[in-house]
Subunit: 460 residues, 2 copies
């Protein structure tokens, strides 16, 4: 899939901005970092929470045919036998018998075919020391209870979906939902990736936003068929990403070809985003028609029926599943890459860096600035900030030239800059600067909360 | 601490209601369950999210002196050496050399002193077969990367607090906060408890809501001193629990006595809630003055300075920390126990079960019911439900007698029941039934969203 993008590679600049301004820090940085694990700082946690809350609202709260769930990370180990993860969730690795290092078998640095006398270790340079590829499971293993033996092995879930499948009947029966309906979940998952990378794009600890939609395999018009539901969800999910503000030219569908499809899958499309540079278009969400594979496997491994009872037709069946599986971290990264721009400012010698985040996603909705630290301006500015803070995230800044304070907020995507100046203390108005157009309007301080609420599209 | 409560034990009824109505399911139930791990169902995930969102709003968004953070679960292993968890986060266990079972050394079922010839195994009954107590670490251990050796060992964090300490300077510098200020985080933590139990009260996987407040050890009036901040947070946190609707008589402070205090701690109080029955008053939050222990230890183990630079006074110091550490699951359980009641209904033969949740916490804000399935009532009811759903969680129910539908919503804490009856289709009004007073008022359908918003105290 890799193809050089027409968009520039801004990743390095973004990583630097993310650390400097508190979006994302390297985990355990003072100890030299933890391999490809990241912490969300004050602005990052707000941005990611806004992304997740929008998903939750669109997928759960605003619909009557999807129920929420929050299943645990630690599940019964048989779950991963049923799902196929114990047997097949593996990567081929080779060992160097000389330097004891381990590599992915398809590492391009390896010269020759591992397991043959010609193969050369890419680190120590020994020839003929690379083992034949062995399969390595990507699940993190731990032990529950006081004894570290095989009976105590549990795994950190490598995906949230299985928590939904095993709870299918619990949810259906407690909510009295009728097929077709869905179950949605946001939560952490863990994969012991050998080659993580690209900042928060591929990490060992990550967060998923998954929805499994259960449909009648035999549904006929006027009801939607399974393939019609698949098309519906494909379009819905693309629309959701567009509504985040991701630019249409940076989004595309990628259809899985026959050879890419899992044996049970009936159709699969990825939503891809163009991250720019050599990373290019990459998956941020998958929409998969999984047939009845998952529920059938859990029936088989648990010896419990996972059938839906269709009362009007007095008929039992195992539903088909259409899955939408988005990465919360990847989507957050896409939002950042999409928003990053450097530009010249008319009439000014210095340019500026802007995160053109949609106001609804911006971690800070308004910066509040007293023009100078005297003449009652700080007092009024604090009153304004406190009033706004009842409804929005606000950053109060009284340090440095006003132009510099605007720039600091531009760089983190704050859509509105509210300045309290000499006129403000006279007539009770403030100026509101728009991050993108740079235009300023005067608004009465007591109307400000409503004014910003309307422009953000958020309740006061 | 255990003392029998004056409040009845409702836990068993609550566990049953929680499963039946979709608050909490046993994890991996179809596989026989996972030891003391639970999944939140459709209503539970909403209730817990409401608890967490209120905490986040009160502790982060509504304040200018606390920053949010979302640090990873997997941290560098040295973190847990610095924190003391590797050395001391342990439970004493004994083994039976005959039946190979393992017990907590203080298990009351053990007869005699383990390690002596008199001790008798509580399961197989052998005498003299119990080993001397050995310390067992409560952290879940896993391996990062492809090799399962000691160099690859990492732990699932047993608390979120350390993610805050190691990011202290990253957060302070990126936000330009000045001491005193705090860092807040919500996230999962894991403890390999030997004796978990009491439903979601003590589990191996749980969620914390922690805030670490950094203060100047030498602060003097008019600034608040460290002990004054400690008192401030103690009161603030109690107020927050009261604002959830927890009844004052079920809440108390428990002061840690000298012998309960960690050696570095300067003061510690727990907020306790009375769960009723034999469980009685138990900790749901801790407010601890931790001195400079944590930051100093991380300085020592990482060889990185974690000092704050006090610019006006040209002085560097390691701040003191006042910690507030609440359990999201425990608080959710407290909210459920507090809300559960069974009562008679005047003029009716059958009583009812009610969750008297505060409207802001209730997972469903309104039930919408067409009185009968004809005469245009279902169509109007669906319009009403769709309108409300833009702002609130709504449950639409057209099944069974109206009294039964009210009862179903009472049992899950829905504060408002909206019925569309014969008059509704004539004059555009609906009835709104109050869960607690059972009183009904007629409200114009087009005013309904505003009416409920106001009574919930939530924006439309």
């Amino acid at each position: 899939m890799a193809s050089v993008s027409a968009h520039p590679d801004v990743m390095e600049k973004l990583v630097s901005l993310a650390k400097r301004r508190g979006f994302v820090f390297q985990s355990s940085e003072i100890y030299g970092g933890t391999g490809s694990v990241w912490d969300y700082g004050p602005l990052g946690v707000e941005l990611k929470k806004n992304v997740k809350d929008r998903w939750w609202h669109a997928m759960v709260r605003a619909r009557d045919d999807i129920e929420g769930l929050d299943a645990a990370i630690l599940m019964h180990p048989r779950v991963w036998e049923a799902s196929g993860h114990v047997a097949t969730f593996t990567d081929p690795l080779v060992d160097c018998t000389n330097c004891k290092r381990r590599f992915r078998a398809d590492d391009p640095a390896i010269k020759g075919t591992p397991g043959t006398p010609d193969a050369q270790c890419p680190v120590c340079g020994s020839k003929g020391t690379l083992s034949e590829p062995r399969m390595f499971n990507l699940m993190f293993k731990t032990f529950m209870g006081p004894v570290e033996d095989s009976a105590a092995v549990v795994y950190l879930r490598p995906e949230t979906a299985q928590g939904i499948y095993v709870n299918f009947l619990n949810v259906q029966q407690s909510t009295r939902q009728k097929v077709p309906f869905g179950i949605a979940q946001i939560g952490k998952a863990f994969r012991n990736e050998i080659t993580p990378g690209n900042f928060i794009f591929r990490t060992r600890e990550f967060e998923q936003m998954e929805m499994q939609f259960f449909v009648d395999p035999e549904a006929k018009a006027p009801a939607k068929t399974d393939m019609e539901w698949f098309e519906y969800w494909k379009e819905q999910r693309m629309r959701w990403h567009l509504a985040l503000g991701l630019r249409p030219e940076r989004l595309q569908f990628h259809q899985h070809e026959k050879e890419e499809l899992a044996h049970y899958a009936r159709a699969a499309f990825d939503v891809q985003f163009d991250f720019g540079g050599s990373l290019g278009f990459q998956e941020i969400e998958g929409v998969h028609h999984r047939g009845d594979f998952d529920l059938s496997r859990h029936q088989q491994y648990s010896n419990k029926k996972l059938e839906y009872f269709d009362q009007p037709n007095n008929r039992r069946f195992v539903p088909y599943v259409v899955e939408t599986s988005a990465g919360a971290d990847r989507t957050t990264l896409a939002v950042l890459v999409n928003a990053y721009r450097e530009e010249e400012v008319p009439g000014e010698s210095e340019g500026r860096t802007v995160l053109g985040l949609s106001p609804a996603l911006a971690p800070i909705k308004a910066g509040v600035f007293p023009l100078v630290k005297k003449d009652g301006m700080p007092e009024m500015a604090e009153r304004v900030a406190n009033d706004l803070r009842r409804a929005f995230t606000v950053f109060y800044d009284d340090g440095g030239a006003i132009g510099r304070r605007y720039r600091r907020q531009d760089e983190v995507g704050t859509p509105f800059g509210v300045t309290i100046d000499g006129q403000s203390t006279q007539d009770g108005t403030v100026t509101v600067r728009d991050r993108d157009t740079l235009q300023q309007v005067r608004v009465a301080a007591d109307q400000l909360r409503g004014y910003i609420a309307e422009r953000i599209g958020q309740p006061e």
